[in-house]
């Protein structure tokens, strides 16, 4: 579809404060999500009673072992009727694509005001050891005994293969961590704002070589909600609409269960799994990577930012290291500013939702680290088991 065919827009974003892991208690998932939803409605100039659709991702899971539920939100928030309630499958790979699910509901006439929400608490189970804590299953019995205890441990072997195949250096991962820390330094919402030097990076504890502490995202609590509606309706609301230019989710069998499988053939192994989604996304938007002004790339682990830069066509496959080390992703002076909000490495980790929030602010022109004149923002979901997803947002004329 062309940009002229854009028919839906993001009209509201709301969030709780971001908390270090475990510090959002005694609030509950429902409280955190409810606060984010109410804040998103307030931002949009809508009543919560206007919501008639829920478009989740991660199977409506709230982090690790908790669940969100539409009926519970209706009961506690007083939402009178819903006409759509669905979720993308799997995990954080669907974060950006959940806006596409909302868009589908609106274009089908199934719902008019659709909320996407993620709430996360890690008091009971932290991200870092989620695979070690999982109950044994027939399929994970082929993975769990190895001691690859968390997602970063799993992605460390993809990273090592990328370094082996293409000569990628740890200096590139350091540049990702440092540039995002720099972006977080002036943000009140960011949990890590102190500067990070190359020495800091190379002196950090190795967790799963070749990855060190600063390659891993923060472990945080909080909630973010986003409201999507038709562009017509959006024009009557409080904020400047942020048009949804294109959304895509899915992926190829070569990636599949990805690092929970490790069978990815050829180039797919040392990748983000996003190349097929990127192709559909650009085709649907009618744009090319060079048209993107700011990229909010899911950064659970720094090397996956590098591999997404390749898969989204900002550089050639295998050249991500050199590209990043050239300073190309910096907010100041970079050719494609990446994670201007500090991302999950330095601001907070809400399973991809902070990237959507930042893209909305960039397209409204209200971001803390505003990219001057930015007209198109790319948002990606997590490199993870399929579906992975991408989203392009635009600036309203």
């Amino acid at each position: 579809m062309s940009r002229n065919a854009t028919q839906v827009a993001i009209v509201g974003v709301g969030a709780t404060p971001y908390y270090p892991r475990g510090q959002s208690v005694p609030q509950t998932i429902t409280e955190l999500a409810g606060k984010a939803i109410l804040a998103a409605c307030e931002d949009a100039g809508l009543s919560v009673k206007d919501i008639d659709g829920f478009a989740y991702y991660s199977g409506a899971g709230a982090g690790y072992g908790s669940q969100m539920d539409t009926a519970e939100f209706m009961e506690t928030l007083g939402i009178p009727e819903v006409t759509f309630s669905a979720a993308l499958t799997s995990g954080g790979g669907g974060s950006a694509g959940s806006i596409g699910l909302a868009r589908a509901a609106i274009l089908a006439g199934d719902a008019t005001v659709v909320v996407t929400v993620m709430a996360l608490q890690q008091a009971r189970q932290r991200l870092g050891s989620v695979f070690a804590a999982a109950a044994p299953s027939p399929i994970n019995s082929f993975l769990q005994p190895s001691g690859l205890s968390g997602p970063g441990h799993l992605m460390s072997v993809l990273t090592r293969r990328h370094m082996h195949d293409y000569g990628t250096r740890r200096e590139a991962f350091a540049e990702i961590a440092m540039s995002q820390r720099q972006n977080a330094s002036n943000r009140e919402t960011a949990l890590k704002r102190e500067p990070m030097t190359l020495d800091d990076y190379f002196n950090a504890r190795m967790i799963a070589e070749p990855l060190c502490l600063f390659d891993f995202c923060l472990e945080t609590d909080g909630a973010v909600a986003v409201i999507t509606t038709s562009l017509d309706k959006a024009r009557d609301l409080r904020q400047k609409p942020v048009p949804v230019i294109a959304a895509a989710h899915g992926g190829h069998r070569d990636w599949g269960r990805a690092f929970a499988w490790m069978g990815m053939p050829g180039e797919a192994f040392a990748s983000s799994g996003h190349a097929p989604v990127a192709k559909h996304l650009y085709q649907r938007a009618g744009v090319a990577p060079t048209d993107i002004d700011v990229a909010l790339l899911y950064d659970h682990f720094s090397p996956m930012v590098l591999m997404q830069l390749e898969d989204y066509g900002f550089c050639k496959k295998g050249e991500g290291g050199e590209f990043v080390e050239s300073g190309a992703i910096r907010y100041k002076g970079g050719s494609i500013p990446v994670n201007t909000h500090g991302g999950q490495l330095s601001e907070a980790y809400i399973i991809g939702m902070t990237h959507i929030r930042e893209a909305v602010e960039q397209m409204r022109g209200t971001a803390v680290n505003q990219v001057a004149g930015a007209e198109l923002a790319l948002v990606s979901g997590g490199p993870a088991a399929l579906p992975v997803s991408g989203l392009i947002l635009g600036r309203d004329a």
Partner: protein
């Protein structure tokens, strides 16, 4: 310090009808992989259908136990075992092309492990009487 595997009492597995033959063979210190009886494609983990031709017929093929390191990590610590050093490996199996096994290399200093290294299988006790395939460097003659 040489790379270790997780202690036996920290490793539990479960099986289903697709995976049970793999673990029963391991209990007899045999490394096997499912080969599609219709088209000859190997797959791991064992799953109900051949992804190439959708057949459910499987030839459980006994492998030599040789493997090549495709990639690996050096993991420092595990929940409850802060001082352990593990070297999880992603292995290509020369006699089951296309299938990969995730395991650990032991009996080697982590810094000596490299992509392309040749390994051989050994079997190590885990919980509930099962044996887990692990790998060590091929003895140089």
């Amino acid at each position: 310090m040489k790379a270790q595997a997780l202690p036996a009492d920290r490793v539990r597995i479960t099986t289903d009808t697709s995976t049970e033959p793999f673990w029963q063979a391991a209990k007899q210190e045999r490394l096997v992989a499912p080969k599609c009886a219709a088209c000859g494609t190997f797959r791991l983990p064992p799953t109900p259908f051949c992804p190439e031709c959708q057949s459910t017929e499987v030839d459980w093929t006994e492998l030599s136990g040789r493997a090549t390191v495709f990639s690996f990590s050096v993991v420092h610590g595990f929940p409850g075992l802060p001082d352990i050093t593990l070297v999880p490996v992603i292995l290509d199996l020369p006699d089951a092309p296309g299938a990969r096994l995730v395991s650990n290399v032991i009996d080697v200093e982590p810094e000596k492990v490299e992509i392309g290294m040749e390994l051989e299988v050994l079997f190590s006790p885990i919980s509930d009487g099962w044996l887990l395939p692990l790998f060590r460097p091929v003895a140089r003659g």
